[in-house]
């Protein structure tokens, strides 16, 4: 094999591919990325048997062939030759020679035949979404997915179609985020549950792109394809909990707050919020005041008052500060609305005037 290509392009792909190599696998070849040629382009492939990626980049191919090289090694090399514009790579007997104007590097590779194939979905449903829309949808809910994979259904992001919208949901059973993105296109008959670790890789691959992605889904697998990248992941075979029934339709107390004021106050309060991130809210509609206090018996306590717009009944409630922060990070609006239904029912947070995002968080016990 012998080829010549742009250093920056191949570096970007190798670094992306390196992320999904199997780091803890007992099979050494899973640590490597596969480099292969295809007429006038280069194919870079990596997999950890959960996710598989494949990039196609333009290159001048002088001699066809393929090789598997350690991913971390290769990305380390490429990031340390920033001055080179192009590189020439030649492979003889699985030994890879990287030649630049001033440098000569030799890397030992592995037999490419042992490199796993990446599943290609041929049947199943397909649909297309603009990459940035998809990423926005995923990023709005990602933080709410469960971390532990004891219940794989909720250590995932759930995506389904509802009317003319694509709905993204994640919950760890203490909070829940739902984001709707406008969608015009093919009907998607069943939702898909993608493990959160894998969807992070998917959005990483498409992060810098602004083009349409073609998704294909079956009961067991999802694949996403843009012009230059292909990524496929296992999906969770199961039923996502019926979350819609827990989204409250009414509220007894509604609070309108300027987001920045709220963030500033919370930042102070979290200093004392302890390991449960417990923040207490006392909301008084008559005085239009919201008292935010935290207390840590070891270090001290805070108490701050915010003047806010309140309608409904007075309420005292303790919420998880981290959960609130997570929601504020994805809300773009300047002011937010928090709705309560009593001190042991979930609180609802959303941006004022934005119906596409809704966030639920359960109160903490007193």
């Amino acid at each position: 094999m012998n080829f010549f290509c742009n250093r920056e392009t191949i570096q970007k792909c190798i670094m992306s591919a390196e992320r999904v190599t199997g780091k803890n696998s007992s099979l050494p070849i899973l640590n490597s990325v596969l480099i292969a040629t295809n007429k006038d382009s280069l194919i870079i492939r990596a997999t950890n048997l959960e996710v598989g990626v494949e990039f196609q980049i333009p290159a001048e191919i002088k001699k066809e062939g393929s090789v598997a090289v350690s991913g971390s090694l290769l990305s380390n090399i490429l990031s340390n030759i920033p001055d080179e514009e192009t590189i020439t790579v030649s492979v003889i007997d699985n030994v890879c020679k990287i030649i630049t104007k001033t440098k000569n590097i030799t890397v030992k590779g592995l037999i490419p035949d042992d490199f796993p194939t990446i599943p290609v979905i041929t049947n199943g449903e397909s649909f297309t979404i603009q990459s940035q829309n998809f990423i926005q949808g995923v990023k709005s809910v990602l933080m709410s997915a469960a971390i532990s994979d004891i219940k794989p259904e909720i250590a995932s992001v759930y995506i389904y179609q509802k009317n003319k919208q694509l709905v993204f949901v994640a919950t760890d059973s203490f909070r829940l985020a739902e984001k709707k993105i406008d969608y015009i296109g093919e009907n998607i008959s069943h939702g898909v549950i993608i493990p959160v670790k894998n969807i992070i890789e998917i959005i990483k691959v498409f992060e810098d792109l602004k083009e349409n992605i073609l998704f294909k889904i079956t009961k067991t697998q999802i694949s996403c394809k843009s012009k230059s990248a292909y990524i496929t992941s296992r999906v969770v075979q199961g039923i996502y909990p019926d979350y819609e029934q827990i989204i409250p339709k009414n509220n007894t107390t509604e609070v309108l707050i300027l987001k920045q004021d709220f963030i500033n106050t919370l930042k102070l309060s979290t200093i004392f919020s302890g390991k449960f991130n417990k923040i207490q809210f006392i909301i008084n509609p008559q005085q239009k005041k919201c008292l935010i206090s935290t207390k840590n018996s070891d270090i001290g306590e805070t108490e701050s008052t915010l003047t806010v717009n309140i309608s409904g009944e007075p309420i005292e409630i303790s919420l998880n500060g981290k959960h609130i922060f997570d929601s504020l990070n994805v809300i773009a609006e300047d002011s937010i609305v928090i709705q309560f239904n009593g001190s042991n029912k979930p609180a609802v947070i959303r941006g004022v005037g934005d119906n596409s995002f809704i966030y639920l968080t359960m109160p903490l016990t007193k």
Binding site: S26, P28, I150, F174, R175, T220, T365
Partner: protein, 452 residues
């Protein structure tokens, strides 16, 4: 003939020798044989990556090993399936937080809230025997002709633990898979009445939404209908819902532990409606069915006890399938603990508590029950009178002694006032014939039998 688990174990053992350790553990971890039909082996793999790889790289090797072990293997396929990883090393991490934080009231992950059905109940693992074949046939007829009012409503009754819920949920699940746009709803009469009571308390809007909720379904399944007794208003609501659904050719399925006519305090108009379609009962399974059920259950648990143990279980426990399963689970647990198969003698004490004690009743006691039922003096039965009101109870007593307690004709005759055994035979024969034609007599006998 070796079973799938053993076959795969041996295949893996052969393959392990041929491949490097890393290769083997990466590609063959969590694989299993899902099924083996006519030599077509389907191997379950954890994901598409493994499926692709086995297909491209190891197909021939696996097939060769399989053939070495089992002559009738013809083909090999792969299918991605959900394989439970052995638990134990996964420790619950959330626990520390959850002590402080309340969980969102999400419903149990595995019950599909929308239809209330449990996907675990399917026809695939439903054992059909002579005890339930009628009920099974009726359900199959419904599946074939959805929405045509054949057997509408279907009413299934039988004692607890005989598979009523399994059957009716399986109908729901089957319809759901074959007609995805049909709306199926499974509920129990208890849930239904709670739903009703809640809606009563919340004004007319809630009431209307309750009424509408049940009228949109194409298949309504209501379990344990006997609990509706004495709930007049709930019954009335069910009556209206029933009418609405029935007129729109929507299928309705009920289950109960009694025949509708024996459910106390059930409105006549409901009784008559329940009887309008098809009423089938599920009997207690006989020996062969019990054997089949145990074998199937053991198969799903991947546990293969010696044949004589299964046979012993099937013969010593009568009736309730749930009990059968419970005992089998107990035995599986015990043998896993001991890491070997249990012997017959070890199982016997196990069974002791569950096997139904044979009822020991003296003839006198049985006669007393019959006499009490007809409110006559016990002594009359033993006398030589042929008065009609005495004759009938006496004959019924003879019939029950013979049919249910297997007492010989001569000894029945002797104990009931020194009668000839031919008299007893005549009496039994007579009741046997009459019971077929006389409905009220049949009910009387059933009620008496219920008292033992």
């Amino acid at each position: 003939m070796i079973n799938n688990v053993q076959l795969w174990e041996k295949t893996l053992f052969e393959l392990e020798g041929e491949l490097s350790r890393a290769n083997f553990s990466t590609w063959f971890k969590n694989t299993t044989i899902l099924k083996c039909d006519d030599g077509m082996v389907v191997v379950g793999v954890p994901n598409e990556f493994v499926k692709d790889w086995l297909q491209n790289k190891f197909h021939k090797t696996i097939l060769r090993s399989l053939r070495n072990l089992s002559d009738n293997v013809r083909g090999l396929e792969y299918s991605v399936c959900k394989i439970e990883e052995p638990k134990g090393n996964k420790k619950s991490v959330i626990q520390s937080i959850s002590s402080q934080s309340m969980a969102l009231p999400l419903n149990d992950l595995y019950v599909n809230k929308e239809d209330g059905l449990n996907p675990r109940y399917t026809f695939k693992d439903f054992i059909v025997g002579s005890f339930n074949e009628l009920a099974y046939a009726a359900s199959q007829a419904i599946l074939k002709k959805v929405g045509t009012n054949v057997y509408n409503p279907l009413f299934i009754y039988g004692n607890t633990g005989l598979g009523k819920t399994h059957l009716i949920q399986a109908i729901g699940n089957e319809i759901k898979t074959h007609y995805p746009n049909k709306r199926v709803y499974y509920t129990t009469s208890e849930k239904f009445s709670v739903d009703y009571i809640n809606s009563v308390g919340q004004g007319s809007k809630a009431m209307a939404s309750f009424k509408n909720k049940y009228r949109v379904y194409d298949l309504l399944i209501m379990d344990d209908i006997q609990f509706l007794s004495n709930k007049e208003k709930t019954q009335e609501e069910l009556f209206h819902i029933f009418n609405e659904l029935y007129h729109n050719n929507k299928q309705i399925i009920f289950s109960s532990d009694k025949h509708p006519n024996y459910i106390p305090a059930l409105e006549d108009r409901l009784k008559s409606r329940f009887s309008a379609g098809m009423i089938v009962d599920i009997q207690e399974p006989e020996y062969e069915s019990r054997l089949a059920i145990l074998c199937a259950k053991a198969e799903t648990q991947k546990f293969f006890p010696p044949k004589e143990i299964i046979e012993y279980l099937a013969s010593s426990i009568q009736g309730n399938i749930r009990e059968l399963e419970g005992l089998l689970n107990g035995i599986i647990c015990q043998s896993e603990l001991k890491n070997r198969n249990l012997t017959l003698n070890e199982i016997k004490p196990f069974i002791k508590n569950s096997a139904k004690p044979k009822k020991l009743l003296s003839i006198k006691e049985i006669v007393k029950v019959v006499c009490d039922f007809y409110s006559i003096e016990e002594s009359f039965v033993y006398e030589k009178t042929r008065r009609k009101e005495i004759l009938k109870p006496r004959q019924i007593a003879m019939f029950i002694l013979r049919e249910d307690f297997n007492i010989s004709y001569p000894s029945i005759g002797e104990k009931l006032g020194g009668r000839d055994h031919t008299t007893v035979m005549h009496s039994c024969e007579k009741i046997k014939v009459e019971i077929k034609n006389d409905l009220s007599l049949m009910q009387e006998v059933d009620q008496i039998r219920a008292m033992f």
